[in-house]
């Protein structure tokens, strides 16, 4: 089990390095805010901590705070990235897109 997790981790790291090297510098800011939103995936852990019934109160409350922060990250990150990318336009396609 543990070995599997490490295995996945290392493969994903390499995949990430490959993928990101191909992003042109013009798109680096949206890349950062978009990947920021992805790092909000910790919301999965937060939901489990805040929602699992048998958890004790303190850990539920810690989980709830984690849900709040992770949600800010996810919602804000995706929205702002979309706002930014909507502005990157090509000339011919006009200004309304």
């Amino acid at each position: 089990m543990l070995v599997m997790l490490v295995f996945v981790f290392i493969l994903a790291m390499f995949l990430g390095l490959e993928l990101i090297s191909k992003v042109p510098s013009q798109l680096h800011t949206p890349l950062m805010s978009g990947s920021n939103a992805i790092s909000g995936i910790t919301i999965v852990g937060a939901l489990i901590a805040a929602g699992t019934v048998e958890n004790e109160t303190v850990s539920t409350i810690l989980g709830m705070c984690a849900v709040a922060f992770a949600t800010i990250n996810v919602v804000g990150g995706y929205l702002v990235t979309d706002r930014m990318l909507a502005m990157f336009k090509q000339k011919d396609k006009g200004s309304q897109s």
Binding site: M32, S33, A37, A50, G51, M64, V67, F69, G76, L85
Partner: protein, 468 residues
């Protein structure tokens, strides 16, 4: 059955994240890529909510608050504030992971103290180590990001803050953190205060990482913190043994590492040098005294030169963001195009305060994507350019980086605007840039200084064109 469905959904989510990032590598597909990635996130969230024995009260409360804050912030933040926005959000990712680790610990500390193991848990030493790492990375990310945010937003001085023995303090803190870690892993249920101490140390380390970094080095620290926020999520994935967290966390971690490397390369400095060098505090040294007289030019004379130019390149820097000049720059660019000139915007990788900062501002001002060119594409043809207009950039066009081996920024690749036939520099004064290095560009034969606020100067040029 339900378990397998949830696991399959996590795989789907991971695939969508990867596809989304892949689509970000082209401008045509980037926006859809972001949506694809968001769908992946939605799937992961829904799948998690489908777990057995979930209570939704606290979840709804947390998500409502977070969604509201995140949504409003994202819709209202002006594009010029993007760097501090991203910095702050990195921090939120970090603190969320820290809290996930803490919650996991809180839930187990009782049973562990009683010598019981929670059924289905991996070995205690492993869980404790994963929790501890999550805590450290999350804490450093959080406090480091808050400092970066405060610097970028101008809440605290953007200058590097260095004090005597800083490295010693850092080193000592790292050692204490490691020591606590070992003690904690050996006896995780023993001393709760040790855990709290570790949180405090992590927060302190974050602050100490970020304060020595200032001004033009900010892109590096933002990228680094971006990477940390991903690694924190990844570490929390080890805590709850969840592959989707590990995959997406490492993707973000890798992304931040790649960007950090690109930024360092664009400044010809090593990461260690950026993190510990404190560029700009020593006052910046140049081996050759810069001599000569700067030649000022009026907007009217500049207009005559531009009117006759058949190719113009704008080179924006952080000053353009400060002056909020991007819209009027685009207006001037359009006028020049109508006048028959070929107009381009050359963007140095570290111009501004975060990677791609200038691109976002120009895109906001409706500058077409094709007109934005990278440094490596403009430099080979720069000598055919009639006029290069430098707006609020300094170090990234400083020929000393190419010529003066003794200067602080020697070796940093620059946009060679001094090779253009004429170069206009829009600037408030002859002061040196962030690195504190004098700029011989201002005194070149083919350089003309257009003094004043960038926005006002460009506006004056636009007016000249309109009146005639």
């Amino acid at each position: 059955m339900r378990e397998s469905l949830i696991d399959l959904s996590y795989i789907a989510a991971s695939v969508l994240f990867i596809l989304g990032l892949k689509m970000l590598s082209s401008q045509q597909t980037a926006r859809r890529g972001n949506v694809v990635s968001a769908v992946g996130m939605a799937i992961a969230v829904v799948a998690t909510l489908l777990r057995q024995d979930m209570a939704f009260g606290y979840i709804i409360a947390g998500a409502a608050v977070g969604g509201l804050i995140g949504g409003i912030a994202a819709l209202r933040v002006p594009m010029t504030s993007m760097p501090e926005f991203v910095a702050l959000f990195n921090g939120f990712g970090g603190i969320a992971s820290l809290l996930v680790g803490w919650a996991a610990y809180q839930q187990r500390v009782g049973p562990w103290a009683a010598g019981e193991a929670i059924p289905g848990d991996p070995p205690v030493w492993y869980l404790a180590a994963a929790i501890y790492v999550t805590l450290l990375i999350g804490g450093v990310t959080f406090s480091g990001s808050l400092v970066a945010y405060a610097k970028l937003a101008g809440r605290i001085s953007g200058k590097p803050i260095l004090f005597r023995g800083q490295h010693l303090v850092n080193g000592a803190l790292v050692l204490v953190a490691l020591g606590c870690g070992v003690m904690y892993v050996l006896n995780p249920a023993g001393v709760y205060p040790l855990f709290v101490l570790a949180v405090i140390i992590a927060l302190g380390l974050g602050v100490l990482t970020a304060i020595p970094i200032g001004g033009a080095d900010m892109p590096v620290i933002i990228c680094l913190l971006n990477s940390y926020s991903g690694l924190a999520a990844c570490a929390s994935g080890f805590v709850i043994s969840n592959n989707v967290l590990i995959v997406s966390g490492s993707l973000v971690g890798a992304s931040g590492i790649v960007l950090t490397k690109i930024m360092c390369k664009a400044m010809n400095r090593s990461l260690t040098n950026v993190l510990f060098g404190g560029l700009g505090v020593s006052g910046g040294k140049t081996s050759v005294a810069v001599q000569g007289e700067a030649k000022p030019i009026t907007a009217e004379d500049a207009y005559y030169v531009l009117e006759a130019a058949s190719s113009v390149v704008f080179v924006p820097g952080y000053g353009m963001a400060v002056a909020q000049a991007q819209h009027v720059v685009r207006e001037l660019g359009e006028i020049l195009e109508e006048n028959g000139a070929e107009v381009k915007y050359a963007i140095h990788p570290v111009a501004g305060r975060m990677p791609g900062h200038m691109n976002v501002l120009l895109a906001e001002a409706n500058v077409p994507y094709e007109q934005l060119v990278e440094m490596d594409d403009i430099n080979p043809v720069i000598d055919t350019v009639d006029v290069a207009i430098v707006i609020g950039a300094n170090d990234v066009v400083n020929p000393a980086a190419r010529e003066d081996e003794g200067c602080d920024i020697y070796g940093m690749p620059i946009i060679n605007v001094d090779y253009a036939k004429t170069c206009f520099v829009l600037k408030r004064s002859l002061a040196s840039g962030f690195a504190g290095v004098d700029n011989p560009l201002f005194f070149r034969e083919n350089t003309r200084m257009l003094f004043g606020d960038a926005k006002v100067s460009v506006q004056a040029l636009v007016t000249q064109f309109k009146e005639t």
